[in-house]
Symmetry: C2
Subunit: 186 residues, 2 copies
């Protein structure tokens, strides 16, 4: 196989194929590293955030939410899209945590970025660990239904190992939080 050092694909033409309420679908003609052309189809998405809210006793504040594309209730950490006028993911993380669970975080630690599907979406999720939690009132969107509950971090890690938490951002953020907490202990 020929090995190309510059893997960049250059945009030849870009077209919007569908403009929905949630999904903005693009189809671009691109020039490949070997000079030939191909098509890349993807979803144009704004940024998003997710938060591992950790209580002092080691419990994590989790959510159960029906995920229509998957046809089942998923166990997840709090998460949501950044508002179009929001530029600071940390502020978005604080807002989403407050709206979905009523919690205010005294401390918010950045865990890294999480790109859910680099092959067909521009979405980037900023992951946080939240500590020093205080509680106010939950304020969900009109068409958002979710139940919150507490789960010990050790149980959550076991559930991930046992394939009981299929949600990708929850797996990555919780495993990253555990990695962070282990490193902080040393």
């Amino acid at each position: 196989m020929e090995r190309f050092e510059d893997l960049t694909e250059r945009t030849v033409r870009s077209q919007q194929m569908y403009d929905g309420c949630l999904l903005d679908v693009r189809r671009d003609e691109v020039q490949l590293p070997n000079g030939k052309t191909s098509v890349r189809e993807y979803i144009q998405k704004c940024g998003a955030v997710c938060v591992v809210p950790l209580f002092e006793n080691g419990d994590v504040l989790m959510e159960r939410q029906y995920r229509y594309p998957m046809g089942e209730v998923y166990t997840e950490i709090p998460a949501g899209k950044m508002d179009p006028d929001e530029t600071d993911p940390e502020a978005a993380a604080r807002r989403e945590l407050r709206e979905e669970t009523g919690a205010e975080a005294g401390e918010l630690i950045f865990l890294g970025r999480f790109c859910p599907c680099c092959a067909y979406s521009t979405e980037m999720i900023y992951m946080y660990l939240a500590r020093d939690l205080r509680f106010g009132e939950q304020k969900l969107d009109e068409d958002e239904f979710l139940n919150t509950f507490r789960l010990p971090m050790s149980d959550l890690l076991r559930q991930i190992a046992d394939d009981l938490i299929p949600d990708g951002k929850t797996q990555a953020a919780v495993l990253r939080a555990a990695q962070y907490l282990n490193a902080a202990k040393k």
Copy 2:
């Protein structure tokens, strides 16, 4: 806030909005837990697989690939879609590993499922750890360009902690593999 025990959203109507070369976009009218209706827009996707190929000395076989939606080269583990006639994700994992890297795995260990974006795609990725690697020839798709290289697992875990590996499936599968290997040691 009212708490609904049954969070299920029921399909009222389903419509295909766009049928592209890669993306099949649906828009469904759904009945919410409170009886009102709303719209759910999502991508209909087949299954996919990803593999952490681990050498005996602790190196992981990685790839560099240009990800057009993100506009940059990503460092990832081998991964790909299941073929439409493929029903066994393990067979798909062996095929993708062989095609993308030339490696045959003597041992393949299932690490769990990874749902990249449960809010707007039906995609499910099956994660595997591959060991006992033997090498043949790489056979990439015609419009696929990627370079492979070896990276020690310890460096990979540090790069994930340092936010240098934004790809979600790579983070989750590598952290899951480390969790599995740690548990196996005990």
